[in-house]
Symmetry: C2
Subunit: 262 residues, 2 copies
């Protein structure tokens, strides 16, 4: 099968002009089929403040009320997404910016109200993906760029960008040999949290269990690793956690971030 | 050749919840390949006011400075475009919202500075259109929904929605038998401006010249008609000017708006 890179960037790249410009150049230069998923960034919060929106949190999690839904639709689906697409076009990469509503690419289920009503939030599974259209776009040498938005019942919904990346990677594993790359602010998963060069270069479920048993992993990285192993269980070939600046090296066979396999 | 409808709606439909909902139901029900182009609407102005943006005008034309470019990218490319797409998906129409940057669908030339610097404004011609990708999308039963935005030199540009509709219609006339439909607030081109039922049902360049010579047309409609005849000269089969509420009738052989042919 052909290779496909599913690459996620978050606020730490989006909010840093130089890091973003460097990342986009590297991303555009990748000749293999690829998909970009971007998160939010400080600009949504800043614009929300300017518009006098009050953020509501329950148990530390932000609630997407109607004004917030419209804000993220504008900022994630409009401003950030189209700036990325225009920049990538300028770099010779035929990017196509989308939300999950576009082309029915990611049809969510609105999160059911239990103890908490999260508002306009969409939950997705690999079955949510219109992989036929995605596959077709990739074959046309188009690079889909996903905003962290899905839809259900005629409305846009807020959805976690890491989840979108995982779900896309899993769904496209039937067509491609997928490496799912999470770009974050460190070189990789660290053996010693205060030592930035103590990157664990490879991990599998066996070595992961050993590190867990030794208490060697910080709480912050655990959800990312659990997410990575779920993706591998569901058919993704490899997951890489690394620095956006190291993108090129991390698309090679010999990587410098943390390469995670089953 | 197969038929294609290229349909443009403006602020008068977008700003009226009931008219918009009615229009979208009718649009979604059209089984023939179709493209939607939407304009702006009051929401951009309202949001600009809330953000304290000051609009600059030269000779009555608004200048797209950098904050305005970002505002229209958010509102046209994000909020309005994605709300339309989510609504159409809910109606069973597989809409895909785009700007000209997406998929390199409309590559503009930034308007050169002469007496006036219009700022971030893009000029386009039928050669600006990536009709190959558009044709493929239409063949996949996808309905492109265009925001009035194009791009050049890695940045989003503001572009008139009527112009985008015309240019798309002309470019796609090599693949389809195109009817270009401009929805506006009247039933059609009126013979007597104060008589809403005095619709001129058909027009061609011959009858147009007669009406011009008789001074029977108001200034407001002239640019639309010139635009229509240019599109016809460039290969578009038919142009229709009519009310959004009459969309279904205006997609039939027997129309109730003004049907313009060469």
């Amino acid at each position: 099968m052909n290779k496909l890179y599913v690459i996620k960037i978050g606020g730490n790249v989006l909010d840093d002009t130089h890091a973003l410009s460097d990342f986009l150049k590297k991303f555009a230069s990748i000749q293999t089929p690829k998909i970009l998923i971007h998160g939010g960034g400080k600009i949504a919060t800043k614009l929300g403040d300017q518009l006098g929106l009050v953020s509501n949190y329950v148990n530390g999690r932000r609630i997407t009320d109607e004004p917030t839904r419209d804000l993220v639709t504008m900022v994630y689906g409009g401003l950030i997404n189209k700036q990325l697409v225009a920049a990538l076009q300028g770099l010779g990469c035929n990017a196509l910016g989308v939300t999950g509503a576009d082309g029915n690419l990611l049809k969510a289920v609105r999160r059911p109200v239990k103890e908490v009503d999260y508002g306009f939030v969409g939950d997705i599974t690999p079955d949510s993906v219109n992989s036929t259209l995605l596959y077709f776009l990739l074959k046309q040498n188009v690079t889909p760029v996903f905003a962290p938005l899905t839809y259900a019942d005629s409305t846009i919904l807020n959805t976690n960008a890491d989840t979108i990346a995982s779900v896309l990677a899993i769904s496209l594993s039937k067509h491609f040999d997928v490496r799912l790359i999470f770009c974050f602010e460190k070189k990789g998963v660290l053996r010693a949290v205060n030592d930035p060069v103590s990157v664990i270069r490879t991990l599998n479920s066996h070595t992961y269990q050993e590190l867990l048993a030794a208490g060697a992993l910080t709480d912050g990285i655990l959800p990312k690793l659990e997410n990575a192993f779920s993706a591998l269980q569901a058919g993704v070939r490899e997951v890489l956690i690394g620095d956006a600046l190291d993108l090129i090296q991390n698309t090679r066979e010999e990587t410098i971030g943390t390469l995670i396999t089953k």
